[in-house]
Symmetry: C2
């Protein structure tokens, strides 16, 4: 085969105007509002599913990277919001782990409880905290399958020193799932 | 921020000479031998961890894509062998699911039982069969953490119609893990 296949992951154009990269996101709610805004914008711009995420420096609230679901448009089932945010953050920082001794503590904030793939991925990413908005049940109501995630999965994260905070601004996050359904969005894992 | 971050995933140079893209991989052992060869070459060329994978058309044995662990060199904790193979296969076929009605049945063959992230990812990829070589226990002996994978995780795959075959050419696959350890390879999730 020639040439060999490649995968090139870029943000949708709207990201440059929708994200303030220089501000500090102080509170957990500030951080979640960004994740939810990304999920909403992704639905309104029709660039993917109703999920947004962002990686922050935990102590300063500096933004490392954002992510949004890009699965259908990019022909790539891996591109859930959390995966995009993790890959972009690691690329920017030039490190295969955000938990490197030379780096400040990082955390991932996602508009919905992570699926099995994303839960595994955040373990390898080196983030020290996971903050979620809408719940697995909210996603299931929309017929989005979260895969084999069990209470033991979250315990596994905690045993590895990852703090888990769920249900932050849940109703605002859930409203975007509903918005997606109301607009007839594709439930591609339904 | 300007410009926005991007992620560009390419194969190591050695892939063009190490992979025969045009042959048919008829038996499950033929397919596993390719996955193991990729894992071995990845160790010998020092391009990543001791893991290889490939996606095939199940019925014809045609090769859709290969993958190998590229985490450390590419600064990207997502780039496990299975993830690379899935993203490359979907990109080549221009489909976010290998289970599309217009496509033949696909399967993923991996030199080692998948970690939690990869197990979730293969569920979303639309493959209909998972074939594994070395076991989770073999990886753990090398201090590679597989994350929150439980017997229920495999049952979840089976319930979704995915056939699971484990232990194919296990000793050959395990030997590459040992080779990596003997060469002092980095156990980055240890």
């Amino acid at each position: 085969m020639s040439p060999l296949p490649e995968v090139h992951i870029t943000y949708p154009d709207w990201v440059s105007s929708a994200v303030d990269w220089d501000r500090r996101y102080d509170s957990v709610e500030d951080r979640m509002r960004l994740a939810i805004a990304l999920s909403r914008e992704n639905v309104l711009r029709e660039t993917g599913g109703p999920f947004g995420a962002a990686v922050f420096e935990s102590d300063t609230g500096a933004l490392a990277a954002v992510g949004m679901n890009l699965v259908v448009g990019r022909h790539n089932s891996v591109l859930h919001a959390e995966m995009v945010a993790i890959m972009m953050a690691e690329g920017r920082l030039g490190s295969y782990t955000l938990g490197a001794a030379s780096l400040p503590r990082h955390e991932i904030v996602t508009s919905c409880d992570p699926c099995a793939m994303c839960l595994g991925a955040l373990l390898w990413s080196g983030v020290k905290r996971l903050v979620c908005g809408a719940t697995r049940q909210d996603a299931r109501l929309l017929a989005f399958d979260e895969g084999p995630v069990f209470p033991e999965s979250y315990q596994y994260l905690r045993n590895r020193g990852i703090e888990v905070v769920q249900g932050v601004l849940r109703e605002e996050a859930q409203a975007v799932l509903q918005l997606y359904r109301d607009r007839g969005g594709l439930i591609y894992n339904g």
